[in-house]
Amino acid sequence: MAITTSRLGRVLPGTKATPARMVTEDPTSPTGGVTLTDDGSGTGSAGSILSGQASLARAATEREKFLQEQAAAQAALQRQQQGALAQAAYLRGQLGAGIPTSISGEISAQETAGQKYIEDQAAALLGQLQQRETQARGMTSTGYSNLMNYLARTQPTAFAQAQRVQPQTVQSALGQYMSGQGVSPAVAQEAANIANVQAAGGAANYNQLLDVLAAREQAAQQSRQSEAEMGLTSQLANLQSIYGAGTASLEQQRLAALADLSSRISAARLQAQQDQAARDRAIQDALAGLIGTGFVPPTETEGGTAPGAEAGVEPTPEAVQQTAVQALAAKLPGIRNETLASNIAKFVAQNPNATAAQVKKAFPKLGANIG
């Protein structure tokens, strides 16, 4: 079997190192100085024997050196592969982890605190508005009640209580004397009677004027009382209107603030999701780099083929899941036994498509929880 080595004598992945056929050279030998043996022994003359022994010793030394280099290369390869698998397992564990709990929790906390602040502010302002509305209603009612009480208590008295006049009737002062002189007093009394009638008419007119003015005065008083009642009703309606506009404005401000808060929280969540997507892309890029080294086999979602899956066939849930080898590789970071870790890395490298049964057979303890 041919041996494929690198220039540094390291075994390339996918090859198997086997004991080499030893070659020695001896120009004095009839056979051209060349004796080929499988175990490094040979035959010849005494001189040639000594020379051959020296050659054999060198060959043995070279062989030992080669074997050590080969073992070191194998160990380095295993470490690289082990590290790559561990790194891939870590990255796959981080992939799709979602928004970190601390960030999503902070965003939710800010949302809750913001909502509480807005609701508290709105409630406080509404309380102040209600307090002022109550105070305003009280002031208005008191003011108009005082006015109505005053109007009821202070009825107009100017014309109502103005003294009505009585007509002054007079008798002719000369009547008795005229009778004594034999002159009839009827003519003089007639003039006195006419004057009395005129006086009575004047008094009646004046009293009637007072009555009219008193009625007008009373009507004005009733008008004032009605005005006061209407004023109270109107002012209370105005206050109610202002209060309604105030509550509507507060509600509008509250809703606007909540909408603004919601918008900012959504923006924060979107930013967190974008950050997480960018992180996933970075992880995927890193995984792609690892897969490109050949140390890490790709999963089906990463462009590999799930075990048992065929082209054009919908993969089964089992195929989509992590393969047995991947599950075995994922256990590497937790293994402290270097020999066991080396064996696992070697098995994973040599059997990337091993089934769960094969994994269980190779590693009974670790494979118990696989598949």
Binding site: R137, V187, G202
Partner: protein
């Protein structure tokens, strides 16, 4: 404007002062008018009988003594001229007295009406002050509610 009750107290004082001045002036003018009005009445009464030495109205009309001096009136003398003259005089006298009394009563009623109107303005002004106060309180309350 904030509510300031002192403004309404000042308005109330102003109304009362104005009413007091109007009432005093009216009362004084009424007194003068009554004095002037009583004068023609008194003159008419005195013109008929004259005054005695004690200052009282006389018991015999001056008209009688005038006709007596001309022999048209006296003891056992009765003339138609005197009777006609006495009748006309008494008639004119009652008529003039009636006019004068009615004029005086009308003038005094005018002053009484003026006093009553002044009182009415005073009462109405007080009601207006109370109304303005109530409205100012209501407007202040509305302004208070608008402060938000």
């Amino acid at each position: 404007m904030a509510f300031d009750p002192a403004i309404y107290e000042a308005a109330r004082r102003s109304l009362f002062d104005q009413y007091a001045q109007e009432a005093a002036l009216n009362a004084y003018q009424r007194y003068l008018a009554e004095t002037r009005g009583q004068r023609p009445i008194l003159q008419l009464e005195e013109a008929a009988f004259g005054r005695t030495a004690a200052g009282r109205l006389g018991e015999v009309p001056r008209l009688t003594s005038s006709y007596g001096r001309r022999g048209l009136q006296g003891m056992n003398v009765s003339s138609g001229v005197y009777k006609q003259a006495l009748e006309n005089y008494a008639k004119q006298r009652e008529r003039q007295l009636g006019y004068s009394r009615e004029d005086l009563a009308g003038t005094l009623r005018g002053y009484d009406l003026g006093a009553t109107q002044a009182q009415q303005r005073f009462e109405s002004g007080l009601a207006d002050v109370e109304r303005s106060k109530a409205r100012q309180i209501a407007e202040d309350a509305q302004a208070l509610l608008n402060l938000r």
